[in-house]
Symmetry: C2
Subunit: 335 residues, 2 copies
């Protein structure tokens, strides 16, 4: 079992003041490892990086036959609760004959500045629609209506979650060793780094997975890359990196330092986990690896503000920077 | 060279979802290592954890002969810009015939909620007095008046910074390998983990350092433990852990995962660095080690909210917790 490797450094003056270690794996749809840093067998909770896997039963069941690509993008999203996200999820629920009260994700203060300001001015409490997972939960509710399950659709033994687990295990290629409860109250199934990368590769190249799954995977990936702002929001890493890649790569973050990426034209999937769970490192690592892979350009500011963010002091003077550690270039198989 | 060891785990369901590695060293005033986790020779930037060392020349020079213990506590503080901090630093500067404009630390939005609300309501911009280092800088300005240096007292070759470096190197017991510029624009000198722990032990037991340094060290440590709220603020780790220790230990944090502690009755100094720079981990590690040392009680909520914070989902249900990794108990010499 390999150890996590230094992936991102925080430099100040001549010193690497802090170091973030992690694992990264690139697989193809056969599950073969094409490159690896750290331990491909490390067990992780993918958190929100696997929302596109959780959405597969929604599409495959036929429940979402009439659903638009915006809603499918929201089903895969960790959005920041902006008006564009909240209004679409509200309308989707309304079309189902349901409402905010039917969600089981809990309320969340939105990350979106404008929406936060609107709530503050109106003395309005944030609601479950603002939860970054409200699109995933709208998808769960839509599948639940189709499956005729009871209202507590986040219970691990509920038909909705059993369907999500089955799809997750088929796509990762292994039985999940268990689950933790996610911030949105749904179970989040564990897998290995290799399992997550393989699942992303199968989303990228679903040709061998049967017609139903192939169609579902293609529809979900197309929805994500068509609506990058719905998948996250203004200024967010997933949205900006998808835009920087010109729609060629679907990028999805998960809490505690996870990123997943789907690259259809190469048939590859990427999984990243920063061991300590820090976002500044996971965003730097995914932008750096997408650069190394040739999916985005190093000079693109949407990329460089993540691969080489400058640290300033409180007088606005540059005193350091964050950047990929040498091992992120030196280790791993050639790509 | 030993590697950083797992010090803090973030658990969700049955999984250690994230792990924070780090170094910790306990020294006595001779510089001898009494316990160590990770690498005692690791070079770190101590950041604000060494403010009491930077304040030594202020006291030893005689510049602070008339200064009260509240101001000395503020000279060692990373405060949160509350009214109690800002008003005292303003009065101190005024007593020197100086003002906010003479500071060189830069403005900072205060962490204190009440002061932030006051600024927002009054459409008032945060100023340099709100900078968490404004007390250290008031101390620099007081020393500077004594030394008759020019106004740019944060320049690394300025007499104020030369004096701070000399005291730092004497207390750590070694020449500093260099510096980075801190968030407040002052140079922050590097040392080893062992160097920082030794310096803290010498603050704890300064008997062999000559009468002037002994008096200065004792005055600064007494000021810190007498005014824990001035050293940080309401709800902050340094303030609460000092209060939990009943004034027997001085505790000081530094950015990027650093903690230092001074324990006069045992003559010991403690230094902690979380490799990835994360506060949730450094606070857990310092509270856990102070518990293991017997300086604070595990059941004290001011301690347990750092050694065992519960992670809840957005419906308020406990889904995980943060806690010390087994290695923090298993490794290191017996204490």
């Amino acid at each position: 079992m390999a150890d996590a490797i230094p992936m991102v450094e925080v430099r100040r003056g001549p010193f690497a003041e802090s170091v973030h270690r992690g694992h990264a794996v690139i697989c193809d749809a056969s599950g073969a490892i094409r490159a690896a840093w750290g331990d491909p067998d490390a067990v992780i909770l993918p958190r929100s990086s696997c929302k596109m896997l959780q959405a597969l039963p929604l599409v495959e069941s036929g429940a979402a036959a009439e659903l638009g690509s915006e809603e499918l993008a929201l089903a895969c999203a960790s959005h920041q609760g902006a008006e564009m996200h909240v209004s679409r999820v509200a309308r989707w629920l309304s079309d189902l004959g349901l409402g905010e009260r039917d969600l089981r994700c809990g309320a969340q203060v939105p990350d979106d500045r404008a929406e936060r300001g609107r709530l503050r001015e109106g003395l309005e409490a944030p609601c479950q629609l603002h939860n970054n997972c409200s699109g995933k939960h709208a998808g769960f509710l839509m599948l639940n209506r189709h499956l005729r399950g009871d209202s507590e659709y986040v219970a691990p033994d509920h038909p909705v979650q059993k369907a999500a687990r089955a799809a997750f295990e088929e796509m990762t290629g292994a039985e999940s060793p268990g689950y933790g409860i996610d911030g949105c109250a749904a179970p989040n199934f564990a897998t290995t780094m290799r399992g997550l990368a393989s699942a992303m590769a199968r989303m990228a190249n679903p040709a061998g997975l049967g017609a139903t799954r192939q169609a579902a995977a293609e529809r979900l990936v197309a929805a994500m890359v068509s609506h990058p702002l719905l998948v996250a929001g203004e200024g967010r890493a997933c949205s900006e990196l998808m835009a920087a890649a010109g729609g060629s790569v679907a990028v999805k973050t998960g809490a505690e330092g996870v990123f997943a990426a789907i690259w259809p034209e190469k048939g590859l999937g990427l999984a990243i986990k920063i061991e300590d769970g820090t976002t500044r490192a996971s965003e730097c690592a995914v932008a750096a690896l997408l650069t190394r892979l040739g999916a985005v350009k190093a000079a693109d500011p949407r990329v460089s503000r993540r691969t080489a963010p400058v640290i300033t002091n409180r007088r606005g003077v540059a005193v350091g920077e964050i950047g990929p550690a040498p091992a992120l270039w030196e280790n791993g198989a050639p790509l």
